[in-house]
């Protein structure tokens, strides 16, 4: 089953390119230890999900590119055609001459309705190319204007027009020290609206990925392209094929549907985060070996101590002793040490994957009291290595990890809102104070739901 990617705004288009490139290079790199037949099945599965094939055998990304300025889309198309390995469809781009000026309201209320028909037509055409559509992956930033405002609008329209298809929004969380003064307003408007119309919000934190580039990949001058490659690696390791069941060698048919069923069935808990290990530069990779036990021990501690990468993990955090009230139940204003999960999915790729012991993730103390580990924990596996890593593990988690940053953003936005700063920029385009208040109350509710696990 296929997934249609909708790339929105500068951020969405740049990330989208890296994701397709990562998927392609992983699928068509040397298969390593796995058999030719298995490798072909893996490639076919990836192709069905993310690419369509033209008559001459060229692979075309299942994607629609949308931006209000032509620059980034042109760059993206150029990059894809220069690499010459796969391409975007010529008729799947939509761009205009004038951006949204980092104003969510402009993207949502002006660009959205004005270009709704053209964009939805493009999407409809791409949907018709799929034998079966599992759902949409919508890549956008959270704090800008076009990606966030228009992206939110398009997500709502997708919900109206394709109510039976799944929608996962890849939301890029802004730098804490972002340069856009209204980024907190944009963020709360994006998140609250997406909470109503999307099935899952996969949050990518710019700050965290920046640190991974710096500490793990040893990159001196970190560019957006570096950050996006790390992000694409994480997404690729999530969505590349895995076996459909323990002991089976068939690949999963509907990764998006299965993932959502496992992680986000509850409508109040839709926030997902992804962590991958190991992550390191190619040069150090050649001199490193890994064991499943070591990787999983690190990954588990990253989960419970809410660490974004394998460096600087706080090893003192322990799960609460079962039977006693969990730390997660303490009120939010106290510092959360232990990160309680609702549901986790671990994806293992590589050699001897069947021997990996996942017992550490099945501890009931890791999870909320109303879900047993049998409901809350799942593992996907494949023997095929991912992206040159002999062994790699990815954790997709629905947990309290976002409570603090979300609380921070809501708090900052509220302080600005209380002094009515910049509100006229929004009311000018039809986003009223009432809409802000709705957004605040919805996000407060989300925070409190996550706090009271």
């Amino acid at each position: 089953m296929s997934i249609l990617t909708v790339q929105l705004g500068q951020c969405g288009n740049q990330i989208g390119f890296e994701v397709f490139d990562a998927l392609f290079s992983d699928s068509y790199c040397s298969p390593g230890l796995c058999s030719k037949k298995e490798n072909e099945a893996y490639q076919a599965s990836c192709k069905e999900r993310f690419f369509s094939e033209e008559g001459n055998g060229d692979l075309v990304a299942r994607a629609v590119l949308v931006d209000m300025e032509p620059k980034v889309i042109n760059q993206t198309l150029l990059k894809a055609s220069q690499a010459g390995r796969w391409k975007y469809s010529q008729h799947a781009c939509f761009c205009q001459k004038q951006g949204s000026g980092n104003n969510w309201a402009y993207g949502y209320s002006v660009h959205g309705p004005r270009h709704e028909e053209s964009i939805m037509n493009l999407i409809q055409k791409e949907v018709e190319k799929c034998d079966s559509l599992s759902g949409f992956s919508i890549i956008m930033s959270m704090a800008g204007g076009t990606g966030s405002g228009l992206g939110t609008f398009i997500t709502q329209k997708l919900q109206d027009q394709f109510p039976k298809s799944l929608k996962m929004n890849q939301v890029v969380w802004p730098y804490g020290t972002g340069e856009v003064v209204v980024q907190n307003y944009n963020s709360i408007l994006t998140l609250s609206h997406l909470y109503r119309s999307s099935d899952a919000l996969l949050v990518h934190d710019n700050d965290a990925i920046h640190k991974i580039c710096e500490k793990r990949m040893n990159i001196r001058q970190i560019s957006f392209s570096d950050i996006n490659q790390v992000l694409a690696h994480q997404l690729g390791s999530m969505f590349q094929p895995t076996y459909s069941a323990e002991g089976s060698f068939h690949y999963r048919r509907s990764p998006l549907g299965d993932l959502m069923e496992i992680l986000v069935p509850h409508p109040e808990f839709k926030m997902l985060g992804v962590r991958s290990i190991p992550q390191m530069s190619e040069s150090s990779l050649a001199y490193s070996t890994f064991t499943w036990a070591g990787l999983l021990k690190h990954l588990r501690q990253m989960l419970i101590s809410n660490a974004k990468m394998e460096e600087g993990i706080n090893w003192h955090v322990r799960p609460p002793v079962s039977g006693l009230p969990t730390l997660g139940k303490t009120p939010c204003n106290k510092e959360l040490h232990f990160n309680t999960s609702i549901a986790n999915l671990v994806i293992l790729r590589g050699k001897d994957v069947q021997s990996a012991d996942l017992g550490g993730f099945k501890d009931p103390a890791l999870y909320t009291s109303w879900l047993a580990p049998a409901d809350a924990f799942n593992a996907w596996k494949t023997q095929r290595a991912f992206n040159k890593y002999e062994k790699s593990a990815t954790l997709v988690s629905n947990s309290q990890f976002l409570v603090k940053p979300l609380d921070l953003i809501v708090g900052k936005a509220w302080n600005m809102f209380a002094s009515k700063a910049y509100i006229h920029q929004y009311t000018k385009f039809g986003i009223e104070e009432e809409d802000f208040l709705d957004s605040f109350s919805l996000l407060e509710q989300v925070i409190s739901s996550y706090c009271n696990l």
Binding site: M1, D131, K164, S165, S254, E261, P265, P267, E268, L442
Partner: protein, 425 residues
Amino acid sequence: MGRRRRRLERQAGAGAEALPEAIAALSRTLPTRPNPETFRRAKFDLPEAAPALWRLLFHVLLREDDGTAVPYPEAQVRLVKSALRAHGYPRPALTQLPEDGSQGSRELLLALSWLLAGGSLLGRLLTRTHVLTGDQMPMCECEDLAHATACLDLPAPCKDTSNGLDMRYVQWLMGKLRFRWLNLICGHQEQCALLSKIHQYTQGCHSNQSLGHLSAAETELLRDPEAGQQLLWRLERENGRLEAALEWRRLEPIFWQWMDTVLGACPQCPSDTGPQPTFQAAISDRGHEELELVTRELQALWQELQLAAEARRTAWEAQVQIQGLELSTPQVLVSEAMVERQLATLRQAWEQWGALPHGPHRLVRCESRALPGGGLWGTEAIKALRSKAACLEAELHWLQGQCQQELAGLAGALPEVVWIPPHGH
């Protein structure tokens, strides 16, 4: 009923020695193919026959042959008991059997015969394992549905609910159901798209001119000759079953006579004043079964009507009391017109339901305008299904409305509690 009984007796007298054959034929027709000796042991209530019979009943009542895991024996026992209860099995002795599945072989034999006596069981089992070579399209599945709803009432997994169930867990399960539902729809759409491709690409390949193209199963045979062996094996197995079923039909009376002796060996239970299990053997022809179904439906409808009329009447009386006799003629006319309109909609819906085509159909892509005998155009089928969906949706809305009213009533009883509707779906 009496006539059939007499016929049974006459035939049974002729071939008492054929009992082992009858039982062997029955066992070859049933899914787990139990050892015929199991039946003889069960007559004497020997414990060693019990596990095989529990397993058999489990497969007969609940399990599709889809290769999914079979639950533990204890769970099987619980599932069988509850499925029998849902089917309306009358003997209380069965429910009192221990859950480890070690005892009660005679009770289980009685239960099995009770199911057989219902008449449609073997037919349904044979349909379930029927080997398909064409692309089937189920039309009206009312019989399947009746069966499925009987099976739906399964016992909840043994969970300690004394601490109360967290509402969030229920919401979680609801969400899971929603995603599975979407996944299913998506899978079904994919299947349709691929079937359409197969039909298009294989146009003109079929030896049968009226079909024109190959089905998915036939295409698979071309692709993979190994699958041909598999198919042959499955067809042979099905043939064996069908032959056994024919043999069983011939020898059935002998079995029923023997069952009378089994029942005779059963100690009479004083509280069991319900109908004798053999009574059911008489109602085996289709007409009776359908009649029963219709009668039940009619009774349910009648009760519903009574309730609704009662509620209307009280509401009306209350209204009249308030308004006195101020009701004007136009108002009466308006409400009469409304009632008539509602009645017409109901009638129309009913007629459409009645006109629905039944049973599975082979899906065939057809270029010509002519419709083969007994055939049905896709557009007609879609129209019929749409109207059915609309009817069901209307019913769902009505039920949801009822639930909301009930909830509102409950909420009203707790004035100090604030109710906030959830966001999301």
